[in-house]
C-alpha cells in the first residue's frame, strides 16, 4: 500500500517515534513537562500512568491534535509541528472516547474512512467488510453505531483506525471500561497489527495490559517520565505477581510462612502472613515458582482452601519505581486526563 511504503521510506531507522523534551501547558497546568521517549519500529511501548498524568495530552500532541509548547516529536521521521500533513498519512488513533459517527452504521463509518484514505470505492467496501469481520461486527454492520454497546463501539473505533494499515498506531486507554472478553479481542487485534509491522504507542492505567502487549514501558506522572525500561526489568523491580494462599485453618499461617522460608525455593523469598485476611502472600515472577510453592505446600500436607494470583496494581508499580504513591488518586473507569478534555 502506498501509505505504508511512504512511511517506511521516511522511517528514521530504528525509532518510529522519538520524543524529546516535549512540553504542553494548559494555563498553569503542566500537562507535559519535558517528556522524552522512544518507540522502536515494530514494537509496542506502554505508557503507564494515573489519570491526569498527561497520557492523553501526549497522544494528542503526537497525532497533531495539539501543538506542543516546546520540545520536538518525530513520528516515522516526520516532525509533528513542521510536517503535520505527512504525519497524518502514517498514523492511526483510537482514543478513550469512540470517534465514530453515531448516526452512521458500522459499515458506513468504515467505508467513509476508507474513502477519506483514498481507497477506491471497491477497495473501501472490501476493506470495510474485512475489518467488520475481524472485529466480529459483521452482524451489526447495518445498525447505527449509536446503538452499539460500549465494547462494540470501541471495536468499531479500532477497526476505523486500522483501515489504512497505519505504520504507527496510538491507542489511548483502549480497554478502559471494557469487559474481559472484549478486552481480549482488542489485545489480539493489537498483537496482530504489530505482527504485521505496525508500531504501537499504548497508554494504559493497567499493569496487566502493559504486560500483555508492551515490550517496553514508560511510567509517567504529572507530565514527567518517572521510570522506563523493558517490561520484564520493571516487573522484576516491582516483583511480578503476588501469589495468595489461603490455608483451610487460619492457625496454620505462621507455619506455612516458616515452611516456605525453610525450603529455600529458587527465587522465593519474603513470604508474609496477612493475619487480617487469613492469607499468605508470596511474591513470584514465574509460573514455575507458582507450581513449586503449591507443590511444596501440598507435599508438606497443608490443607489449602484457596489460591489466587494478583498482578501489582498501578499504585504498587509507582511505589516500587518511585518510592512514593501516585500523585493523583485512582478513580474508577475512564476519567478525563487533562484539562484539555473540557475544551475538546
Amino acid at each position: 500500500m502506498k501509505r505504508n511504503d511512504t512511511s517506511r521510506g521516511a522511517g528514521s531507522g530504528g525509532n518510529a517515534v522519538e520524543v524529546r523534551g516535549l512540553v504542553k501547558h494548559f494555563g498553569a497546568t503542566k500537562a507535559l513537562d519535558g517528556v522524552d521517549l522512544d518507540v522502536r519500529e515494530g514494537t509496542v511501548l506502554g505508557v503507564l500512568g494515573p489519570n491526569g498524568a498527561g497520557k492523553t495530552t501526549l497522544v494528542r500532541c503526537l497525532s497533531t491534535l495539539l501543538r506542543p509548547d516546546a520540545g520536538t516529536a518525530r513520528v516515522a521521521g516526520y516532525d509533528v509541528v513542521a510536517q503535520p500533513r505527512q504525519l497524518r498519512r502514517v498514523i492511526g488513533l483510537t482514543g478513550q472516547y469512540a470517534s465514530v459517527d453515531e448516526k452512521l452504521s458500522g459499515f458506513e463509518n468504515l467505508y467513509m474512512i476508507g474513502r477519506l484514505l483514498d481507497l477506491s470505492r471497491k477497495d473501501a467496501r472490501r476493506r470495510g467488510e474485512e475489518m467488520l469481520e475481524r472485529f466480529s461486527l459483521t452482524e451489526a454492520a447495518k445498525r447505527p453505531a449509536g446503538q452499539y454497546s460500549g465494547g462494540m463501539r470501541r471495536r468499531l473505533d479500532l477497526a476505523a483506525s486500522m483501515i489504512g494499515r497505519p505504520a504507527v498506531l496510538y491507542l489511548d486507554e483502549p480497554t478502559t471500561g471494557l469487559d474481559p472478553r472484549t478486552r481480549n479481542e482488542v489485545w489480539q487485534e493489537v498483537q496482530r497489527m504489530v505482527s504485521e509491522g505496525s508500531t504501537v504507542l499504548l497508554t494504559t492505567q493497567y499493569m496487566e495490559e502493559a504486560e500483555q502487549l508492551a515490550q517496553e514501558l514508560t511510567v509517567i506522572d504529572r507530565g514527567r517520565v518517572i521510570a522506563g525500561g523493558r517490561v520484564d526489568e520493571l516487573k522484576a523491580k516491582v516483583g511480578g505477581r503476588t501469589l495468595q494462599i489461603r490455608p483451610a485453618d487460619r492457625g496454620e499461617l505462621a507455619r506455612m510462612v516458616g515452611a516456605l522460608a525453610q525450603a529455600g525455593l529458587d527465587g522465593i523469598s519474603g513470604a508474609t502472613a496477612d493475619e487480617a485476611e487469613g492469607v499468605v502472600n508470596v511474591p513470584i515472577i514465574s509460573d514455575e515458582q507458582l507450581t513449586a510453592v503449591v507443590g511444596l505446600l501440598g507435599s508438606r500436607g497443608f490443607a489449602i482452601s484457596g489460591i489466587s494470583t494478583h498482578l501489582p496494581s498501578l499504585d504498587e508499580v509507582f511505589l516500587a519505581v518511585t518510592g512514593q504513591k501516585a500523585s493523583i488518586p485512582q478513580e474508577d473507569g475512564a476519567g478525563t486526563d487533562a484539562p484539555q478534555e473540557v475544551a475538546a
Binding site: 502506498k2 511504503d5 511512504t6 521510506g9 521516511a10 494528542r60 497525532s63 497533531t64 491534535l65 495539539l66 510536517q83 503535520p84 500533513r85 505527512q86 497524518r88 498519512r89 498514523i91 488513533l93 482514543g95 472516547y97 469512540a98 470517534s99 465514530v100 459517527d101 453515531e102 448516526k103 452512521l104 458506513e108 467513509m112 474512512i113 474513502r115 477519506l116 484514505l117 483514498d118 447505527p144 476505523a160 484539555q340 475544551a343 475538546a344
Partner: protein, 274 residues
Amino acid sequence: MSAATVSAPAAAPVREGRIGLRANLRHIGALARRNMLQIKADPESMFDAVIMPIIFILLFTYVFGGSMAGKGHEQEYLNYLVPGLMAMQGMNIAMAVGTGVNDDFKKGVMDRFRTMPISRSSVLVAKIVVEVGRMLVATAILLGMGFALGLSVTTTPLHLLAAVALSMVFGASLMWVFILLGLSLKTPQAVQGMAMIILMPLQFGSSIFAPTAKMPGWLEGFTKYNPLSNLADASRHLMRGGPVAHSVWMTLAWAVAITVVTAPLAVSKFRSKT
C-alpha cells in the same frame, strides 16, 4: 487516485503532503455522503426545510395579506411575499448549520477527521454542499406551495431559476458566518441565541414582508443596506419584473464579501480548535 497517482509511488506530492484537487473533491464527496446519511438516520432534522416554508407562507399571507392588500386580495400580497420568503429561507437554513457544526464538534469523530490526511476545509465544504441541497428542498416546497395558492411568475422560468440560484449563492455565503459562530461559541444554545439576535433585525428590517417606503427614515436607510433587502428585491424583480441589475449585483457583492471574510476565519478556527 490521489495526488500521487499510480505512476509515481511516494513521489514529491505525497512527501509534500499536499492534497490534490481530485482527492479533495473525493474527500468532500465522502463527507457529504456522511451528512446525507445523518439526515436519513434523523429525518426530523428536515423539519425546518420541509415544514417551515409551509407555515411561513400560510401564516404571513393570511395574517398580513388582508391588511396589506385589502381583504380578499391576499393573493397580491402572496406575489410580493414569496420572493422575500425565498430570500429569508437561506438564512433560516444557514442558522441550523451553526448549531449543527457546534454539536458535531463535541463528537469524537471530529478528532478522527483532524488526524486524517484530508484538507481541513473539506469537512466544512461538505457540510455546505449538503445544506445547499436542503435549501433547494425548502425552496421547492415554498414555490410549490406558492403556486398552489396562486402565485404568478410574470417573467420567464429562466428568471425564476436565476432567482433561486441567487438565493442559494447568498445562503451559502451566510453559512460561513454561522459555521464561524458555531465554532466560536460554546453551546448550540448560545449559537441559536446569537443567531436570533442577528436574524431578527435583518429579516424584519428589510423589504421581505413590507415595502420600505412607509418605514421611518432611519429604518429605511438600514433596509437599503441590508443584504436581505437586496436579495428580496432581486428575487421579486426576477420573478415579477422590474429593474434587476442593481439588486442582483449588490447581492452578489455581499455574498462574495461575506465569504471572503468569514470562510478563511472559519477554516482557521477549525484548524486551531483543540
